[in-house]
Structure formats: structure tokens, C-alpha cells
Symmetry: C2
Subunit: 154 residues, 2 copies
């Protein structure tokens, strides 16, 4: 069990590109209700099952378990709500933090967001120049909500 | 991944009691929609996260992963739909099969069902004398449905 404290921002420009290689993420949701989400995620030869609680402010409780990738792929394809979420993730270390930039594909193409995980909700952070508007409080940007209302339909 | 082929029956009388010790099961659901269920189950010092697909006839696809019991207990208490399911389970081997008798507690007290897992949907089975009406096709008896509509409210 972990407490996840995250802030999320839109990304502007391309100043972040070329700094780190991309990882391809493919994920589906077995539950997307607001009380709890259940996510199956694949990245290369690894996969995880992740349960997250309701968001309270920018804090969530999270449980994550590694699972066999072939089982994850079966669940994403056959059990998860459709459409699935596909994205490239770029993990950029800066000033002691790691910025995770998600460049979405498929039904969410065009959406690029950056998340940063904090130790405490009040931690001050230095914003890179490619960081735009904060969207931490906007539920439209939850990955679980990008299934039922993908960016292309906004 | 496993294919689960199960038949379920009501239990009549007490002829099955005293044959094997009871195990206490405590379980909660993170998803109970008909397309898929996500269950967290605790039994003693063991716990599992289980995903099951839609039932097709008496067959379901099932994925089960052991998880730390303290995390399971947290999820059952704080994340799962309420009320949770509590029951005693008795596993009785008979004629090459294992009958799992579930004696429900709490909001489902009074309900006792027996399940038997088969290799093939058409397998013939010898019914013990304490087996009553078959309820394999009755969704009211799905454990996931006993959360929203417990036996005491039928």
C-alpha cells in the first residue's frame, strides 16, 4: 500500500522532447467508478494490476501487484472497458523530482500531460518551462475517465 | 488464467456437517458489474485478488493472484462495496470431486449453498443426499450479487 500524492499539468511546446527514451504503455480498466479504480497495465515484458482509492485532494491510496504480461494482455483485450488507453511515457528527472510526461495515442491523441509525484501535498516545486496549466483537480484528465470520454470527444 | 466450470446447488439438512473443519472467508468486491468482478478475499493468513469474466453458461475465465493479507484487509474494509461477504467454507471430497459448501454469515445468514468444480460442463455428477435445488443459472446467488441484494432482503 502506498499513498500517492500527485500534481498534474498540461504540457506546452516540445522543449521536453529528446531528453529520455519513450516507454509504450497499454492499459485498461476493470473498474472506473469514482470510489475505486482497478487498472491493468502493460509495458514491454512487465505488467501490473493496480487498485486506487477515491482521490482526496491530490492524494490517493494505491495498491500495485506485478502480474504475468500475457494475462494482463488478455484482460486488457477481453475484460477491460473499451477503448483502452495507449500512451508513450517519458520519465524526466529534474531538480530532485521525476516528471512523467504522458503523450496519449488512439482516441486520446493530442493530449499530453505531465505528472509529478510528491512526498507531501504542500511540497514546493520548480516548474519546467514546458509546464502549462495545472489540471490536478480536473477529473476529465483522470486516465480512468479518458476511457469513457476520450480527449477526441471533448 | 483458468477456466472455471462450476455448478451450484442449495443445501438441505445437516448431513454434511462435522465431516471437515470450517475455514472462515471474508471477501469484498471492487467491481460487481456483470461484465467482470474483482474480488478481494481473506482466509486466515492468506489473501487473493481475483478477477472473473462474465459467466457464459456455467463457465467463467478467472485470474487469481496472492496478495499480502494486511493489504487485502484494508481493501475489504475501506475500498470494497459494503456490506462485505462473510462465510464459513467446508471442502468435502466425495467421489473424485470436491464439494465446497458455503454457510453465509451477516446479511446473508441462513443461506447455505454447495458448489462443485468440473473439468467439462457436461460431466455427470453424483449428487450427495444433502444437495437440493440447482441454482447455477440464478444470478441472485452470485456472491457478487449477495453484496447489493443480501439473502436477508429477498
Amino acid at each position: 500500500m502506498a499513498k500517492e500524492i500527485e500534481r498534474k499539468f498540461l504540457v506546452r511546446g516540445n522543449g521536453w522532447r529528446g531528453m529520455v527514451p519513450a516507454k509504450h504503455y497499454c492499459q485498461g480498466y476493470l473498474s472506473t467508478i469514482k470510489e475505486r479504480t482497478v487498472r491493468v497495465r502493460c509495458c514491454g515484458n512487465e505488467a501490473w494490476l493496480t487498485i486506487k482509492s477515491t482521490t482526496q485532494g491530490i492524494t490517493r491510496t494505491e495498491f500495485e501487484y506485478p502480474i504475468p504480461p500475457d494475462e494482463a494482455r488478455y484482460m486488457i483485450q477481453h475484460l477491460a472497458e473499451q477503448p483502452i488507453i495507449e500512451k508513450y511515457r517519458y520519465c524526466i528527472p529534474l531538480n530532485g523530482l521525476v516528471w512523467e510526461i504522458d503523450e496519449f495515442l488512439g482516441a486520446n491523441q493530442g493530449l499530453i500531460v505531465a505528472e509529478v509525484e510528491l512526498n507531501h501535498a504542500q511540497d514546493e516545486i520548480i516548474l519546467p518551462e514546458w509546464i502549462g496549466e495545472e489540471v490536478s483537480d480536473d477529473p476529465r484528465y483522470y486516465n480512468s475517465n479518458l476511457v469513457s470520454k476520450p480527449f477526441s470527444q471533448w
